[in-house]
Subunit: 461 residues, 2 copies
């Protein structure tokens, strides 16, 4: 085991303490790393060690080598990209996962991994107000994937195979808005779609239905085959919300697979008052959201649901003789290897289980409401100040604004804020105009952190 | 954070202790779980908790609910499938990863995640005698993927895109032997290959070159396009070794991408005496092996190498405005999001770093030699006993044998051994004959565990 059980108890405690101390001080550190390319590597020895080193040397190197090279995603002053949360209970759930080192590829290779995962995915259906038929006890089902990229890619592959029986692979088309996450376009390319349409958006940066319909008509006229459309609830650019119901109805008319990507915003649906943003979900064929973004669950944990699990399993099941087993043959169990690309899979449900039980759903709702409330307040403040323009609605907790002084002023403001310690993301609107994304949702971000950021914006603008 | 830092210190210590105690007793438990389908789920409450529960209740449920539902992959009596290792230092490295919760999608979002990963992947090139040009400092490079399925799928996608410019996607063909892991066929289907050829094998269950060449000729005559061929070093069925050099030469002549899958056996190459099995690797375009199988690194960690990183990055790079950053634009850094399907990625290199430093390469070599030595001894014993037939060579640590009493006797023997406590895998040879796979390679499996298994075989046969 590399060390004795008692050494593990000793060093385990030291690592736990190191991690706790990290979180106690991370809010005081500048979020961005200041190292230059190559600086971290230059501290590492040329070759792997031939002989064992004392564990104390490894812990020292966490401070000496690792820490300077971190961008502090766990800082409460993290306002960049989307959050990538962790939390103490999630870490402990993940530690149990590493310790048990289960492989849940088949039910029989780890019944607990499979059944706790299925059960928790069903819990989430109720917690988030998702369609009941997505439960594993009904026609659909949920599975833990690694990232939303993996979830969306899987949906693209199943959609492709639905059409591939009657059409050339060269002719299949996938549609999403120009504001969807890059994972949709990337997933489509990976899945072999030659035609990926990034459909125009309207004033609120949501998919323009007329543009979508026109693109589809044009493609059909050219002999191409509309195959897949992705709606986004909370785009990466500005958390715009696509018209899920209208897209779902169109997808049914056109015989396309309809996938909904709520990677970030999905967690907000634990609060009933935001569920109108996911109206129409019952028309979707598949859905993904990431508890590892905003639900305090350590990466990686992307929840992927299908309305009907049969085409998923048909597409992904390959059965060699060494995997044949009684439980699978009985048909009474789920073998999750048939629900995604990898064969091996770890016990990822533990970290969500630990989070839900340690926080309780009520406390998670409070945190989400606190983040969204802080974002709404920041938006109001920016709207009331003549120096700023709020460039997109704030349905969730992403605030999008620009300096009225123009692109250079906006970019300079982003740079100066990031140099001052917090971290937010400069980006571009569809028309090319610069803006600043303030993403609020890190596990330990509280209202006063957002107020400090507001004061900093005020000071540096 | 769901709990205070001090609660985390307290419960962290309890979980560390629980994991250590699990490993202290796991060797005494029957490896297979005896629960019936649905039994674990029936112990879980109908809905997620609204209010926080005491952490003590969670720890109790690890014993009450989780433990009965485990198949004990970490038992030293694990002889099934391939091993899925963990170890104490790997768990601690993974705990740091969960605690820091870095997202290494871009160099700039976590320089340490990127640079320690690149450096360690280069270390492995030297440790395993892989071609020097696979280093990140040369034309190629290594990246951590989740599973060999992901690595192989990625290779299939890049290969497909190399041909897709000049050919219909409908005409591309992937080749592998009938004895390759199911992940090759599955990856090819996921990547949209309509034609997957499972080529016949010879007496030692290695790819039959004449059969491969004949299949390629036939496909070309039908207007199809040979695109991808996978060699396996250590097939899942019997750890057969395909003729890597001959396949590599053929791939060059035919303009095919040549991927080498050494998912299990790759770790053995840390011992120079086994490297003749990977002769010809310098002709490969890509390669994968899994430190999470036999190198004591907790899942998930699949090492994926390419000889030339350009086609990989060209295939997988999609750049939205919110990911644009100075470091990437300088070209001086690696952005690993362009090396695989997911965008998000955790700090997986830590667990390998902790393992290599805590064990040292010498100790890892000793463990591999002990496993392989024990496998050779078991093979000799089986060969010397008239009741058994060794049905395949034992190049590494997988022993394949049958009962001379016929298929039913072989299946009955496997069943009775598994009921007695250890766990091994009944499987089928290409000709349909039953055999038993004894896979030796669990982190804490020592010679005496294999000797106990031998005695059990002797008793039950």
């Amino acid at each position: 085991m590399g060390m004795s059980a008692d050494e593990f108890r000793k060093y385990g405690q030291e690592i736990v303490d190191w991690v706790a101390s990290y979180h106690e001080r991370v809010g005081d550190l500048p979020v961005q790393s200041s190292v230059a390319p190559g600086e971290i590597r230059s501290m590492l020895p040329e070759a792997a060690p031939e002989l064992p080193e004392p564990f104390e040397a490894i812990i020292e190197d966490l401070d000496r080598i690792v820490l300077p090279g971190l961008t502090h995603w766990q800082s409460p002053n993290w306002f960049a990209y989307f959050p990538g949360n962790t939390s103490y209970p999630a870490m402990l759930g993940d530690l149990v996962s590493s310790g048990l080192a289960q492989q849940g590829m088949l039910w029989s290779t780890s019944p607990a991994t499979t059944e706790i995962e299925s059960h928790l995915m069903d819990w989430l259906v109720d917690l988030l107000g998702l369609p009941q038929h997505w439960k594993t006890t009904e026609s659909g089902g949920g599975v833990i994937q690694m990232s939303a990229s993996d979830s969306t890619h899987t949906a693209l592959v199943v959609a492709r195979n639905q059409k591939a029986a009657d059409h050339s692979l060269d002719d299949l088309v996938a549609y999403t808005s120009s504001q969807a996450n890059s994972s949709v376009e990337k997933g489509a390319r990976v899945a072999g779609y030659r035609h990926v349409r990034k459909v125009d958006v309207g004033d609120t940066f949501a998919m323009d239905m007329a543009a979508l319909e026109a693109t589809i008509e044009q493609d059909k006229a050219s002999g191409l085959v509309p195959t897949f459309v992705c709606s986004v609830v909370g785009t990466t650019g500005t958390t715009a919300v696509d018209p899920v119901r209208a897209i779902g109805e169109l997808a049914q008319r056109e015989g396309m697979w309809h996938h909904v990507d709520a990677a970030f915003a999905g967690t907000a649906m634990i609060c009933p008052e935001f569920r109108h943003y996911q109206d129409g979900l019952e028309l979707a064929d598949s859905y993904t959201f990431n508890p590892h973004k905003w639900m305090m669950v350590t990466f990686d944990f992307s929840a992927f649901y299908v309305a009907d699990r049969r085409p998923l399993i048909e597409t992904l099941s390959v059965l060699p003789p060494y995997l044949v087993n009684e439980a699978s043959e009985s048909g009474a169990v789920i073998d999750y290897r048939d629900w995604h690309v990898p064969l091996g899979r770890r016990f990822r449900a533990l970290k969500l289980w630990f989070v839900l039980r340690t926080y309780g759903a009520q406390r998670i709702r409070e945190i989400i409401r606190e983040h969204i409330g802080a974002a709404q307040d920041l938006t109001s403040w920016l709207e009331s100040d003549p120096r700023f323009e709020v460039v997109a609605p704030t349905p969730f907790s992403l605030v999008c604004f620009a300096h009225r002084g123009g692109d250079e002023a906006t970019k300079a403001l982003a740079k100066s804020i990031n140099e001052a310690g917090p971290y937010l993301t400069p980006s571009l609107l569809p028309d090319g105009r610069a803006f600043i994304r303030v993403s609020i949702g890190q596990t330990s971000t509280e209202r006063h952190h957002v107020e400090q950021l507001r004061d900093l914006i005020d000071e540096l603008a």
